[in-house]
């Protein structure tokens, strides 16, 4: 992935956490484009508009949560509406191990990181993908 053309999508209902994610990504990849959504439904709209390469996804959100967001992306991919598969990093405060393992097996989910986010974990993942 070329860092000049990176498009991030942050799907997170908490404005404060979106701001922290955005600032962190801006510092790491100042030339990237960063889109924000407050819930899964907005996230789907932004997904089709901006075609992000990497998505930071919260799971528990009002209106539409991360599970439904992943369901829709998976269905879009299965039915060939979506051609490219994004890389999804789930950032969640869910603590149940079984639930976390189940999320980790979902479509396009490359990693599951616990809140509060240790940003070095995220940085190290991104560095593996972005040159």
């Amino acid at each position: 992935m070329d860092k000049q053309n990176i498009r991030f999508l942050i799907v997170e209902d908490d404005e404060m956490i979106r701001l922290i994610h955005k600032d962190f990504l801006n510092d790491l990849y100042p030339e990237s484009k960063i889109f924000e959504a407050e819930n899964g439904a907005q996230g789907i709209c932004h997904y089709f508009e901006s075609n992000p390469n990497i998505i930071l996804l919260d799971m528990m959100m009002p209106i539409m949560g991360g599970e439904a967001f992943l369901d829709i992306l998976e269905e879009g991919h299965r039915s060939n509406i979506l051609k490219e598969k994004p890389k999804i990093i789930v950032v969640t405060a869910i603590k149940d191990v079984k639930e976390l393992m189940s999320i980790g097996k979902r479509f396009a989910v490359e990693a599951v990181i616990s809140k509060p986010l240790v940003q070095n974990q995220l940085k190290s993942l991104l560095e593996d993908w972005i040159s």
Binding site: M16, I20, A93, L117
Partner: protein
Amino acid sequence: MNTTFPNKDDFLSVPVFEMEKALNRVHNKKDLLERVIDIFVKSLSERISAIETEIHNENWESLGTLAHSIKGSSWTIGAQQLGDIAYAMEKTADNKDIILFSHLFQIFQESAQRFFEVEKTLQ
């Protein structure tokens, strides 16, 4: 239902706010921390009001989501005490135990007051 009331002192032994953790989250950017804390304080007040309404309605799904959100943002900002109580509230919402949830919410509101007092000293 077998309700076990947690001891308030268990939560009180945890710091209300840890500046070092908070600064770490924002890479020591004090201006960003100010913005982050402003958002947190505003959303905390809104969420407390929402919980008051949803307790009355016994809307467990909403109470669980609210407690979960507070937990995540509190731990992120270094408000460990609020995060820990919110975590207990989230688990209690799963069990739909209104007596225990109300008890925890009382402890939570007292902790929120302590946080607001600490926050004033940061300005």
